[in-house]
């Protein structure tokens, strides 16, 4: 194994606890050492991979395959049930953009909050404010409460904040889907430039974006890695598999 990795996952698995009765959560918390009150729901099993500096890794997979959970694990938002995840440097998560915005605050004020959550000092945010405003391209709406924004505008603002964090690892979760083509173009260019100094971890359903950006693709299926490799090959296989499997609700099931 090489030593210039930025993210390293070794046999990572994540099980959520599914409770038949709501209050079993409390029982589990209090008496968990004596009895198990839940059913395990394995979202991810035995995932291993390494991401190097300067790489842009795309993650593909169907709904419920475990993509978002994988990103949350890498960010450290939730802890793996087994295995180990190591990361180096500062992570900037662009997860479900704009959902953390306070609707009553203006865009500018939300930048202060969002920047602080991403670990920026107040002085630094104020310094970057103009640049963030310009990148977002929402004009006068920047000083209006976020409740008057369209979802695209909120996404623009959110991405602009993340784009200004001095991160080593950028984690993007289907974030670009809402923006219009022009903004997407801008973001893709940013991500491309970002690769010069950092690593990008990128979830998308868009084959086009993955092919344009990524140097490697991880295909996740039913909580496991189905294949890792060249973007062109994997996306082709992925699309083929989608055509064959169709949309079958039996895919979503709890338990083993």
């Amino acid at each position: 194994m090489s030593s210039d990795w930025m993210i390293r996952c070794t046999n990572v698995g994540k099980a959520y606890q599914i409770y038949a009765v709501y209050d079993h959560r409390l029982m589990q918390m209090l008496f968990g050492r004596f009895k198990k009150f839940y059913q395990d729901f394995w979202v991810l099993r035995d995932i291993s991979f390494e991401v190097k500096r300067g790489e842009c890794v795309g993650v593909m997979g169907r709904n419920g395959a475990g993509k978002t959970t994988l990103l949350q694990l890498i960010c450290g938002i939730t802890e793996p049930s087994h295995g180990e995840i190591l990361t180096r440097g500062r992570i900037a998560p662009v997860l479900a953009l704009g959902s953390a915005f306070d609707l009553d605050l203006t865009g500018r004020e939300n930048v202060l909050v969002g920047g602080a959550v991403l670990g920026l000092k107040r002085a630094r945010i104020l310094k970057l404010m103009n640049s963030i405003q310009e990148f977002s391209g929402i004009g006068e709406f920047f000083d209006r409460p976020v409740k008057f924004y369209s979802s695209g505008m909120a996404a623009r603002l959110a991405f602009s904040i993340c784009a200004h964090v001095d991160a080593d690892i950028l984690i993007i979760d289907e974030a670009l889907a809402v923006g219009d083509e022009a903004f997407q173009e801008k973001c893709l260019k940013f991500i491309d430039d970002f690769r010069a100094k950092g690593t990008v971890f990128f979830v998308s359903h868009s084959v086009k974006q993955i092919r344009a950006l990524c140097s490697r693709v991880i295909w996740i299926e039913n909580g496991g890695v189905r294949e890792i490799g060249d973007p062109k090959q994997i996306t082709e296989k992925y699309q083929k598999a989608l055509m064959q499997e169709k949309d079958d609700s039996a895919r979503f099931h709890i338990g083993n």
Binding site: Y16, Q17, Y22, D23, R25, L26, Q28, M29, Q72, L73, I74, C75, G76, I77, T78, E79, E84, I85, L86, T87, R88, G89, R90, I91, P93, L95, A96, S99, A100, D102, D104, L105, E109, L112, V113, A116, V117, L118, G119, K121, R122, I169
Partner: protein, 288 residues
């Protein structure tokens, strides 16, 4: 640069290196070190909450001053005109009742909110790398702001009506400090517990009104029969109310035993609450 960390937090490498040498000093300093490290974030989240409370209304801060003032006036009017206690004591009665209520309100506001604290900020917690332990600090600082305004109004009122604030009032920080520690510990404890079941929130709401009578809000413990004194002192708020009355109103030094017990309870609750919260934090993320 080659520092590797477990993905507890992508942002703070230093904290985790510190965590490797676990000793008593680490245990005692880590809650404060943690708050210091995230002071910028605490400031921003606090600012956002105060904004919601004050700037979204026309009169903003005026309400915060008017509410305690009005209450003081009503207390004074009731105790002088309706209760007719007579002489100097009636104004003392009103003031001491106000002190009791001030503490009760602070306690009630914090604890009513604590069980829902994590789900209130679920977007921060689940969608970004957010140290949820700071929510206890912001929530306490927010409530302290209101209580602080009440305190200032109270002191001004006492100065105006009674004409004097005794020198012992300078001891106030030594009484408030353990109170803060105690409240922080309680918020940590109940916010972790509240993430697992909504019942905690309903339970707190149901029990809280009892506290207003168990806490010596409308009476003083001193001069009560021993049984009453004992039952009241089981209540963690009572010592603070009594001690504050003594130093602010009566100009006496607080009882040393009461003072030490209050500090002891506060320290235990503070570290207990913090450890409890940190232990269940990662599990709580998955259930809120």
């Amino acid at each position: 640069m080659s520092v590797s960390i477990k993905t507890k937090k992508g942002m703070n490498v230093a904290a985790y290196r510190r965590g490797s040498g676990r000793g008593l000093v680490y245990f005692l300093t880590v809650p404060f070190y943690n708050a210091l490290q995230y002071r910028e974030l605490i400031r921003v989240v606090l600012g956002r909450e105060l904004y919601q409370r004050f700037r979204a209304s026309y009169f903003g801060w005026i309400w915060a001053v008017a509410t305690p003032l009005l209450m003081l006036l009503v207390f004074t009017a009731v105790s002088t005109n309706i209760l007719k206690i007579g002489g100097d004591t009636e104004i003392n009665f009103a003031l001491s009742m106000f002190i009791g209520l001030l503490y009760f309100n602070l306690f009630a506001e914090l604890l009513n909110r604590a069980p829902l604290l994590l789900s209130e900020h679920v977007n921060f917690i689940k969608k970004s790398i957010f140290p949820s332990e700071i929510l206890a600090w912001t929530s306490m600082l927010r409530s302290l702001t209101y209580a602080g305004i009440g305190f200032v109004v109270y002191l001004a009122f006492q100065l105006y009506i009674v004409g004097i604030i005794p020198l012992t009032a300078l001891l106030l920080p030594f009484i408030l400090l353990p109170l803060f520690l105690f409240l922080l510990g309680m918020v940590w404890f109940f916010s972790a517990l509240g993430a697992f079941t909504r019942d905690i929130s309903f339970m707190v709401a149901a029990v809280m009104p009892i506290f207003i009578f168990v806490t010596p809000v409308f009476y003083s413990v001193i001069g009560q029969p021993l049984e009453v004194q004992l039952t009241t002192y089981i209540n963690p708020l009572a010592p603070y109310v009594e001690m504050t009355r003594e130093i602010l109103l009566l100009g006496r030094l607080p009882d040393l035993m009461t003072f030490l017990i209050a500090w002891g309870v506060a320290v235990v609750v503070f570290y207990g609450g913090y450890s409890f919260f940190m232990r269940f934090r990662s599990v709580a993320v998955d259930v809120i």
